[in-house]
Amino acid sequence: MYRAKIEVSLKQGHSDPEGEMTAQSLKELKFSAKKVNVSKVYIVVFEAESKQKAEEAVEGMCRKLLANPTKDNYSYVIEEEK
């Protein structure tokens, strides 16, 4: 069993209106928020025969559903689930 922590974030250069609005709100609370970038984190627990197969599966998850290559980058960490 494996556990993947997948982070999907906006590619550099793409506007992040959610991040900008969050930064503005944090500033109103008197925090120094110069910039906020918003990303999504998915924790997926799944079965795979090997670490390599697990990586292939996570790549597929990102490409086929979790990220849109037009605007998203993705990264992940895979660990064996005990």
């Binding site: 590619k11 209106p17 959610e18 559903l65 849109n68 290559p69 605007k71």
Partner: protein
Amino acid sequence: MKTQDVRVLVMRVGGTNCDAETQRAFTELGAQAQVLHFNEVIKNHSILDYNALVFPGGFSYGDYVRAGAIWATGTLTKLRKDLKEFVEQERPILGICNGFQVLVEAGLLPAFNGISEYPKATLATNIPIGYRCKWVYLKHENSGNCIFTKNIPKNKVMHIPVAHGEGRFLFAKENEKRYLQKLYDNDQLVFRYCTKDGDYPNGEFPVNPNGAFHDIAGICNPQGTVFGLMPHPERAFYGWQLPDWAKTEQAPTFGDGKLVFESMIDYLKKRF
């Protein structure tokens, strides 16, 4: 084919909320239109039993992951073969608002070289951020390729409402120029946001309600048979749906949205 023989399938899933108005637009014009849940279609029907397919507006599957992404994945997984055949036979597919998001996520639009394996565009979070429900003006840009707007003169300014939080049409930065050129070369550009007089806002809010690249509101595939748009033609179908109809001495019977449904039916009548 006669109008009364035209069979339109309006699909819905949890979160779809514009299926009834869309169905009514088609039935008002004399066609047959059936609303069916996606799971019901998979289980007991075939999309190939219909002449046209519609992905209506709403918030399919709660807009989880990205607007339209889950329904697009389900559609490709469960209907890929039939969908490919549907497109190849040049039967019309319409995606309105969330339906447009589904078509883009599924690679059915812009589909420069057929249905793409991964999305070539996206409908990102509005700029300024927020759900925007308002009447906008659209300029018809198409030169006759799009079967959904054949009855609309080029450069006609239309009044139709939008209602969305994720409608900012984008290409990847590195592809912007190339893909825009393809839209023009293939006559795939259908609607752009504009002022009442037809001037382009160049991304400026509020005329462009979401910050869409090149003020794009709707595009079709190179064959002109798959069409997606963020504005809601079904909400501008009748004259009494228009925002100012009560102030006029005689409200028009129909609004600009009717032309989209009418064009599609006319295409089917001539083609099949």
